[in-house]
């Protein structure tokens, strides 16, 4: 069918996107491959070093510490934050709960607050003389007056801060999924004598699985990119003994503080590979459970 437009019209129409995508995404991505095999002092001075940056990282204790910390944070997000989000969503999905709209807004509202503000707020709360210590000291006999949360419990503090920020956000996804769970199925299971737990496992979970796996993937990607929260909460550093050093923070330190763009690019590619591996695993697990 002849639409009346010349053949090249579609190319003209998509060209703005293609040009912008090529300039700001494809070129930097390809150039970062070039940088990853160079040692640099800014973009001006560089020398080819082959795979030295990758070799260095593979035996770099700080890099692996950053990877471990990032994994712990991701695990905290997936295994603590998401079940909490699901729990809240189930509560708010229950017809007998009053003021559901109000609570939905309350639980969602932390995700509207800027990450930097949240980091500062939790920094003050976890301070030696902050709200957490003052409260526990008043309530719990024998509690150490100035427990150093940001020395001893760095990752825990980060997970708690992120939990406050994102639990409500993920709850919205789960709530939307739960509202699409067929009531007929649930009622049929109830008639067959299934209790709340079997109904949850055999009716609710299978029904929300596509959304849940999407939320898990989103949460993993977000966790692997953790930066601002840790950066601000720990005063522009990885915290004592690098307990809060994340992969992206390590990348930032190398690329933008030390000017080692080559090493930073290598870190970026290693993070990309890690993310790809996780995405594939997650995809396969989701597919296997569907089958």
């Amino acid at each position: 069918m002849n639409s009346g437009y010349p053949k090249w019209t579609p190319y003209v129409l998509i060209s703005p996107f293609v040009v912008i995508f090529a300039v700001f995404m494809v070129y930097p991505m390809l150039y970062s491959v070039v940088l990853a095999v160079q040692q640099t002092f800014g973009p001006k001075t560089s020398t080819f070093v082959g795979l030295q940056n990758f070799k260095y990282l593979l035996t770099d204790p700080m890099f692996w510490k950053a990877v471990r910390n990032t994994f712990v944070f991701a695990a905290g997000s997936v295994f603590i934050q998401l079940p909490l989000s699901l729990g809240l969503a189930m509560l708010l999905n229950h017809e007998k709960v009053r003021g559901r709209v109000f609570f939905r807004m309350i639980f969602f509202s932390p995700s509207l607050v800027g990450t930097v503000f949240i980091a500062i707020m939790f920094g003050l709360m976890f301070d030696r003389e902050g709200l957490v210590n003052v409260t526990f000291y008043q309530l719990i006999p024998g509690y150490p007056a100035e427990f150093p949360w940001l020395e001893r419990f760095v990752m825990g503090s980060l997970i708690i801060a992120a939990m406050w920020q994102f639990t409500g956000f993920n709850m919205i996804y789960f709530l939307a999924a739960l509202q699409n769970v067929s009531k007929d199925l649930s009622e049929a299971a109830m008639v067959d004598g299934a209790g709340p737990w079997p109904r949850f496992l055999n009716v609710t979970i299978p029904a929300i699985k596509p959304v849940a796996s999407f939320v898990v993937l989103l949460s993993l990607i977000g966790s692997f990119q953790l930066f601002e929260l840790a950066f601000v909460l720990l005063n522009n550093s990885g915290g004592p003994d690098d307990q809060g050093l994340t992969v992206v923070m390590y990348l930032y330190q190398n690329g933008f503080i030390s000017g080692r763009l080559g090493k930073a690019s290598a870190i970026g590619w290693m993070l990309a590979v890690l993310l790809m591996v996780f995405a594939v695993i997650q995809h396969r697990v989701a597919k296997a459970s569907e089958n």
């Binding site: 009346g4 437009y5 010349p6 019209t9 703005p16 040692q39 002092f41 800014g42 973009p43 001006k44 001075t45 020398t47 070093v49 030295q52 260095y56 770099d60 204790p61 700080m62 301070d127 030696r128 003389e129 007056a145 100035e146 150093p148 020395e151 005063n235 550093s237 915290g239 004592p240 003994d241 690098d242 933008f256 503080i257 030390s258 000017g259 080692r260």
Partner: protein
């Protein structure tokens, strides 16, 4: 006339897009042309970047004086420290224009020295300083942080000797003569009776502000330098795992844990730290000259309660001061008018007016030695209980230790600070509180720290090829 008739008058290709599409396309084309044709404003005169508000207030007079009498005009801009660092590095690393003159804080300079010496973005001032006799006029250790591979890249702003500030009112009330203390070991013994719940809130109060976290890394470096240790020597060779450094971190940890604990985390520039100082929950702190002005501004409530004394030495008869902080003025290589920039740099930094202004506003001692006999340094300060801080700092200035400018110094400081943190955790876990019992673990942790820093140093092909 109908629309159909109008359409027939227009060329066919106009139908490829809707009216809206043509409007968007025209806007895009027009704005692209406008952006391309927009004139980039030419920067007149010398551009001068600074990072400190208090410096700006001080420099305004000298800049106005220069602009009244001389050409080219100087345009001073105040940037945040981080913004200045990012813009300076971006400019140096890409050969794009920055300011002609840049004032930089010590912690941000080593990054400039990471690459080949010929790629350092600042002008090498070594020959000028020697030829014009300026090198001899200035306190020599002040050049240390701005020297890389034997070449000097900045004009020093300060000396920054360190003293000990203490709550004279509390010590006098307790009948403790702290001024007679000669060594740190003596200090730790003498102040011990003051540890306890001093304000009745059931929480124990300690004496000295010192802790094993990153925010205290500059104090740690100052104490290492005072003890005769170092992280890098003047030839930029690494000396992290040494007996002196192990002795210092083991001593400091023995202050932070156990039954003889005297130290507490009351960091500078923090609301919590300031409150602890005002409430008398911490009584002693290391005090470089620049911090005197900060305290006076942030904690006026301490007026008349504070006194200064030389740091206790690490061994009898040892050094009674150290050095903490520092600023330099550097000329960018990209500057098109280096001669005038250099003349202005001298006009500002070597002037007596600035020396007096620095002291009066911030208690900062000028690095120009010929001004050290000026009477304003002898004026008593109400804040420091009638003492003359200027004279006290000047008496110690010649003993200030030399510092390195190794590009790995900041990383090394972080690693040594981390070693101290791990030593503290070790002490708490194993209930080992005595310095001598901590020494083996201190050596092991410093060896680990050195290994990590050495990996980074050896990885740098630019420095390797120039050493």
């Amino acid at each position: 006339m109908s629309i159909k008739f109008l359409k027939r008058l227009l060329p066919d290709y106009l139908e490829y897009l809707s009216a809206g599409g043509w409007i968007i396309l025209s806007l895009a084309v027009c704005s692209a042309i406008a952006v391309m044709c927009w004139p980039i404003p030419h920067r007149e005169g010398l551009q001068f970047w600074i990072f400190s508000y208090s410096h700006e207030t001080l420099y305004v007079g000298k800049v106005e004086e220069w602009n009244r009498d001389r050409q080219p005009q100087v345009n001073m801009s105040l940037l945040s420290n981080e913004a200045l660092q990012q813009r300076m590095l971006a400019s140096f690393l890409t050969d794009t224009p920055a300011a002609d003159l840049i004032e930089v804080e010590r912690n941000f300079v080593p990054q400039v020295f990471t690459g080949p010496i010929e790629d350092v973005g600042f002008v090498d001032l070594t020959d000028r300083l020697h030829e014009e006799g300026i090198y001899e006029q200035i306190n020599e250790p002040s050049f240390g942080p701005w020297t890389s591979r034997g070449r000097i890249f900045g004009l020093p702003h300060d000396v920054h000797p360190v003293m000990l500030a203490y709550r004279a009112d509390v010590f006098e009330e307790a009948g403790i003569d702290i001024e007679s203390v000669q060594t740190w070991d003596e200090f730790a013994q003498v102040v011990l009776p003051l540890v306890g719940d001093r304000n009745g809130d059931t929480i124990p109060d300690y004496v000295i502000s010192m802790w094993a976290t990153g925010s205290f890394r500059d104090q740690l470096e100052a104490l290492i330098l005072q003890a005769g240790g170092a992280l890098f020597d003047e030839h930029e060779q690494m000396h992290i795992n040494t007996e002196v450094n192990a002795h210092v971190i083991a001593t400091l940890v023995s202050w932070m844990v156990g039954p003889n604990r005297i130290a507490v985390d009351a960091g500078e520039f923090s609301a919590q730290g300031n409150k602890m100082r005002l409430d008398g929950r911490v009584l002693v702190a290391m005090m470089p000259d620049w911090l005197c002005g900060v305290w006076q501004l942030d904690m006026p409530g301490l007026e008349g309660k504070i006194k200064l004394m030389p740091l206790p030495a690490w061994e009898p008869g040892g050094r009674r001061t150290s050095v903490w902080g520092g600023t330099m003025l550097g000329m960018a290589k990209m500057s098109e008018d280096q001669e005038n920039a250099w003349t202005f740099a001298k006009h500002l930094y070597l002037s007596e007016e600035l020396a007096e202004g620095l002291y009066r506003s911030n208690y900062i001692i000028s690095p120009v030695k010929s001004y050290w006999d000026r009477p304003f340094y002898d004026e008593p300060s109400d804040y420091f209980s009638g003492q003359a801080p200027g004279r006290l700092f000047i008496n110690l200035a010649p003993d200030v230790p030399v510092r390195t400018s190794s590009p790995f110094n900041t990383f090394a400081k972080d690693r040594v600070s981390n070693a101290m943190f791990l030593l503290k955790e070790y002490a708490l876990k194993n209930q080992v509180y005595d310095r001598e019992d901590l020494m083996d673990e201190a050596r092991r942790l410093l060896a680990d720290a050195e290994k990590l820093v050495r990996r980074q140093v050896e990885e740098n092909v630019f420095l390797r090829s120039q050493q």
